[in-house]
Amino acid sequence: MHQQFATVFVFMLLGLAFLFVSQIASKLLRPKNPYAAKQQSYECGEEPEGSPWIQFNVRFYLIALFFIVFDVEIIFMLPWAVVFNEMLGTVGPLAFWEMFTFVCVLLVGLAYVWLKGDLDWVKTIIARDDDELVNRGLSRYSSGDKLGKPGLGASEYV
């Protein structure tokens, strides 16, 4: 069995060697002539302007967070599922009701997330009119341009 590890190891070494040899050879053999137009980032022929950094939408983080929580719930269900049959013999229906309670508590979490609108991709903001939106630092058309500035209803001291 250990001979197969040796095969994998040799394979890895060869891969690394290929990488290194090709890069080093190329670096030694090519001419070095950098100038400004060559160093610019390529934007399909257009002139690049502005910073390449974009505002990352926080909804992606929220979805990842919900995934983690429910994934950990599944992690807890896995060992339970493995010994469930045995447990039915020793403690009886309690085995089922315990997990039922656990899932119910997490269902409350799901209900919370759902009813607060965090599962909608485009979040509905309930406001009576545009004035209220402006007072809350939001606008119907964009949500990103006020980030990082103290105008977002932030105060120094409450």
């Binding site: 983080y61 950990v72 990082g148």
Partner: protein
């Protein structure tokens, strides 16, 4: 012909690895200014803890360590989620995640 049939990884190796990971995590939290890197270092510390528990549990033949790891994973996930959410909130208001910029509360 070298002996390829016995594994030479003992408990000590695991414990050393986890101690090294733990201290890398601690130094990450102490010496870095970027809050996301600090969270990552905290996760590294928790990984080291998990590794210690599993190694010891394997050595002793006791399943209690595995159970502990399961719960420690859940705790780490919850803590990271809450911490990053707080970080998002503070970034929205201050525009920075460099912890040196958060000095409003220092005397």
């Amino acid at each position: 012909m070298p002996d390829l049939t016995t594994l030479h990884v003992h408990l000590g190796h695991y414990l050393t690895l986890s101690a090294i990971l733990f201290f890398i995590g601690v130094s990450g939290v102490v010496f870095r200014r970027n809050a996301i890197i600090m969270f990552m270092s905290i996760e590294l510390m928790l990984t080291a803890v998990n590794l210690t528990f599993l190694a010891v549990s394997r050595q002793l033949g006791d399943h209690q360590g595995h159970v502990f790891v399961l719960f420690a994973l859940a705790v780490a996930a919850a803590e990271a989620g809450v911490g990053l959410a707080i970080l998002v909130e503070i970034f929205k208001r201050r525009g920075s995640i460099d912890v040196d910029d958060f000095r409003k509360l220092m005397e």
